[in-house]
Symmetry: C2
Subunit: 130 residues, 2 copies
DNA sequence: TATAGTACTATACTAAAGTATAGTGCATGG
DNA sequence: CCATGCACTATACTTTAGTATAGTACTATA
């Protein structure tokens, strides 16, 4: 039995490593939302601002830089009179699709769950969430 | 074309909402790692500490409370001489499995990608990550 | 008797994430 | 000529996340 738990621990560690690698790159409130916005195609700075409700210019600017450094986003400058800049996903960041889909599905499930729980104990009014 | 972008914007928003719901619940450096640890079965406080490398007692204690409030973790007290406490996943948090798997797979992929990029420009030595 | 384990909490702190507000330079539209 | 849009940057700030260290009350073990 002692042996089994140690084996479990090893398994757990090897499962955790790549999960944490992902979390390191995708951390924070905004990176995934920005990527979701860009899954709908190349966009400009202000377009992303409009999609990702509540983000400030400063944050968007910073997060785009981070994502570019990590090879998830490409920045293209189109010269013209008002210089235009577009952002788009790299093939690599397109592989995040399954991550995003699973988060999206879970989000839907979780909200449904909260509603159900809410109905059960209607009076208590707890919603929790965070 | 104007119409199409507005339609896209609506689509994007409705995709983003549940993704952000998930992120709100799973935010931070530790929640998913803790859940991963518990996917291997009921565990005690110190066992989780050992699995989730680097977490402090304070953080673990706080995050477990958060997760319990959100209905993702159950705390059981087994009375005995040294009082023992165990934590386990709820059926609801077991539905996070696909989220975790996708993050894990992407983490593996991303690390592979970094290594490849590193080989290409061997001299430059950039690894970036964060 | 001393040490270590169990499941934490308390206090104090630093660092990182995020917000608020304003400003820049250039161009077009009314 | 004034306002607005574009793609940002700068400054200053607050909030949250996370770290470090210590301590508690109890028990079992050496």
């Amino acid at each position: 039995m002692k042996k089994a738990t140690e084996e479990e621990h090893r398994q757990c560690t090897s499962m955790l490593k790549p999960v944490r690698d992902s979390l390191d790159v995708l951390n924070g409130k905004w990176k995934l939302p920005i990527i979701v916005s860009l899954t709908f195609g190349e966009k400009r700075f202000t377009d992303i601002t409009k999609d990702v409700h509540g983000i400030t210019d400063r944050m968007l600017s910073k997060e785009l830089r981070d994502l570019e450094l990590n090879g998830l986003v490409v920045r293209k400058i189109l010269d013209g009179y008002p210089v235009r800049v577009t952002y788009s996903l790299t093939p690599h960041s397109k592989s995040l699709r399954t991550v995003i889909d699973s988060l999206r599905n879970w989000g839907i499930l979780h909200r449904k769950k909260l509603n159900e729980d809410c109905k059960e104990k209607k009076s208590s009014g707890k919603l929790v969430s965070k």
